[in-house]
Amino acid sequence: MADAPLVVENLSFQYRTRPEVAIKDISFELHQGEMLLIAGSSGCGKTTLARCINGLIPRSYRGKREGSIRLNGKEIADMPLADVAQVVGTLLQDPERQIVASNVFSEIAFGPENLGLPRDEIIRRIDQVLKRLKIEYLRDRETFNLSGGEKQKVALAGLLVMQPSILLLDEPLASLDPASAHEALEIFRGLADEGTTIILIEHRVEDAISARPDRLMYMEDGQVRYLGGIEKLPPEIDHHKVKLPASWVVERIRALGERMDYVPPAKLKTDSDPLVVFNHVNFGYNEEKQVLYDINFQINRGDLIAVLGPNGAGKSTLVKHAIGLLKPTAGQVLVEGKDTRKMSVAQVARVLGYVFQSPTHMLFAPTVKEELAFGPQNLEFPKAAIDKSVRESVETVNLNGLEEYPPLGLSFGQQKRTTIAAVLAMQSKIMVLDEPTAGQDYANYTRFMDAMCGATERKKSLLAENFAATMFITHDIDLAVTYANRVLIVSAGRLVADGRPEDVLKDFDLLERCRVRPSSLLRLNLEMFSQTGSFMPAEKLAQYLP
């Protein structure tokens, strides 16, 4: 009998620079055409395991490795990296950083070029793989201008052209909108059906199961806690750490008898005078490229707005108008009654604070305290007011004790909180968050969102307490279901829906047209709406079932 494509035996690894073992005593075997889903929260060891399988450990990352990994019967440590690369193709999390050439054709050629294959053979293989992924039309495009989904397909083509028998996909859905993620999963399934062995690392189990993986491996603290079929998952799998379908979570909650303290966002108010008004706003970077068409809406006190829509729909452009970074080419945006054309960005910042998606795009100061003082200083607050504001925002987002730390040395979650505190310190009235959950694993992002938006019977949420209104741009429809009292859907530069989540999100035809994919939590909420009367997280829904 031929050797299995991948055999891992008693594998352990400890990085030279870290005191603790990263993965411990891992054993499993994969067969041709099998798809294994590996799930777990950050730090569970899944990235280290991936680096062992693709050969970066022990070549690029040094440390103590025990046990063995055999690719088609050969020990990986004895193989040159060029040989490993022809067996295991690795798709990294962010295709933007995996693509090394300016042009699609050159990008796909990169691997075979490095192997020194003859030119005719390379061209033959490129044409084959373009056809296989149905992306012939991208052949001569520049890589920088591709959409996220296209970039990922091109990165994948760059791996398939080396004809690997195993594909290692490291959180491949992280940078895609849900519709593109779904397409990517279909492609992975297709490749497995054609005989490629696939390892899919993903904490969003709910999404990943649509690729119908054969088995699930669940990791915690560097060890395998579960390895087996996907149908009946044992209780060891923590639904706080990986995102399971809502109905599975409900079953678990009922079995475990957990209760959840959840207060839905306050109902929409319409009577106040608006904080921000969009009045027939049109925008284009030039005459040929119109981005926004006739946008009309208002932001009122008490709004918790989720802005949904696929990548490239114009969500960010719309929000940049609210914060004055862009000015409309026609129509007007009024912030507290004043036209943004007559205001500087700094003046608008007193009303709207914007937290960008990636903390590394904005953090720069040597200490957290200085980072937080930056905004108020720019807005020329008096010294005493700055100190007070910084102290209070540190308190609010719970960064106590970290005031003198360099923000760039903090964990991702702490960095994210620092960016929130930086906006808090400016005492803006409206908080605008761009993709608040991006770059975090499920456990961290639910913790983060609960800390920001979670309210109890006695206490309002952190955001509601400190801001008159909040607006977040997101791909994650569950954020809209759980934390918003108003949903805007942007599609192809137009505002196509604006209303309460339970009104807007029940229109599945509209969602499909706008490439917004309903989640299992949304479906379950709609099914149970007659009993619950409002949207809520799965943990709370469990309490309504008999």
């Binding site: 060029a82 690369a85 090394v100 192997l115």
Partner: protein
């Protein structure tokens, strides 16, 4: 967008040339002017005409190249204006021995004071300025079209085929690939900090103070680049970069037109050398008739 691709495919003889022959031609012209230090307008002018001809053959749209030319003109105006016309001392002007009578004079005084001097324009200075402009333009006019007319995807192979190693050559391609990414990161960071009330126009004070004011932009962009760099290295390792001599999928080959073009470059280089070192022609030159006329 801060950076957009300047290159566009065009069906021109210039873009059909092998990039190597264009770089070699450019090198011949620059070395032909600088090694024998040619300042004779009788040699510079025909070269200037050739390079203008080549520029026109590249058929670059004026709107694309307008800003670059503006920059070049300002630069040349300052260099020529300050060097040749005003001071007349030091630098390249040392080639000029000005004995001619002034054509006319321009008094340059700060109004209401006696600070300033009288600018004397002479025929020698006028010729010097013309020669210097043409000398600089001959080189600039060959170099400016390169980013507009050379496919960014072939820089790597061009250098590889000129004898540079695989790794260094690919670095060229990588630089072109990540330039727009860097520009995008910078523009996001500018937006992020402006939303925190940061204003770039308020860059006041000395160099240290200015750099401090730039930290909110420089630090995040550097951090992003470092993180990107680490991942790109992993990605390249995983696709077997540097494990063996690589194939370069894009082929370059010299056509007869390339040999003619390189021959022309070489001919210019040799002609200039011969004029200077065999015939002693090439020093700064003013037509004797013009000098006689100016001196009355």
């Amino acid at each position: 967008m801060l950076v957009s691709w300047k290159y566009r495919p065009r069906n021109t003889i210039i873009q059909r040339l092998d990039p190597r022959s264009r770089l070699i031609f450019l090198a011949c012209v620059i070395l032909g002017i600088t090694i024998p230090n040619i300042w004779d307008i009788r040699l510079i002018f025909p070269l200037f005409l050739i390079t203008v001809g080549l520029y026109l053959l590249a058929r670059i749209e004026w709107k694309d190249v307008r800003r670059t030319w503006l920059f070049i003109f300002i630069l040349i105006f300052f260099i020529v204006g300050l060097n040749g016309l005003l001071s007349g001392r030091g630098g390249p002007t040392s080639v000029m021995q000005d004995t001619s009578a002034p054509l006319f004079s321009i008094p340059l005084f700060i109004p209401g004071t006696t600070w300033g001097f009288v600018l004397k324009i002479t025929i020698v200075r006028v010729f010097f300025a013309m020669t210097q402009i043409m000398r600089m333009l001959s080189m600039a006019i060959l170099a400016i079209p390169i980013p507009y007319t050379m496919d960014p995807n072939i820089y790597g192979i061009t250098f590889r085929r000129m004898g540079v190693s695989d790794k260094v050559s690919f670095t060229m391609d990588l630089a072109f690939r990540f330039l727009p990414t860097l520009a995008r990161d910078l523009s996001i960071t500018i937006d992020a900090q402006r939303a925190r009330g940061y204003e770039m126009d308020s860059l006041k004070g000395g160099i240290v103070a200015r750099l401090r004011r730039l930290a909110p932009l420089i630090v995040p962009v550097t951090m992003q680049s470092t993180v990107t760099g680490e991942e790109v290295i992993d990605a390249m390792d995983l696709r077997a970069f540097g494990t063996a001599p690589r194939t370069w999928i894009r082929a370059l080959s010299f056509a007869p037109r390339d040999y003619i073009f390189m021959g022309l470059g070489l001919a210019i280089f040799i002609t200039f050398l011969v004029f200077k070192f065999v015939f002693g022609v090439g020093e700064f030159w003013v037509p004797p008739e013009a000098l006689a006329w100016a001196n009355g």
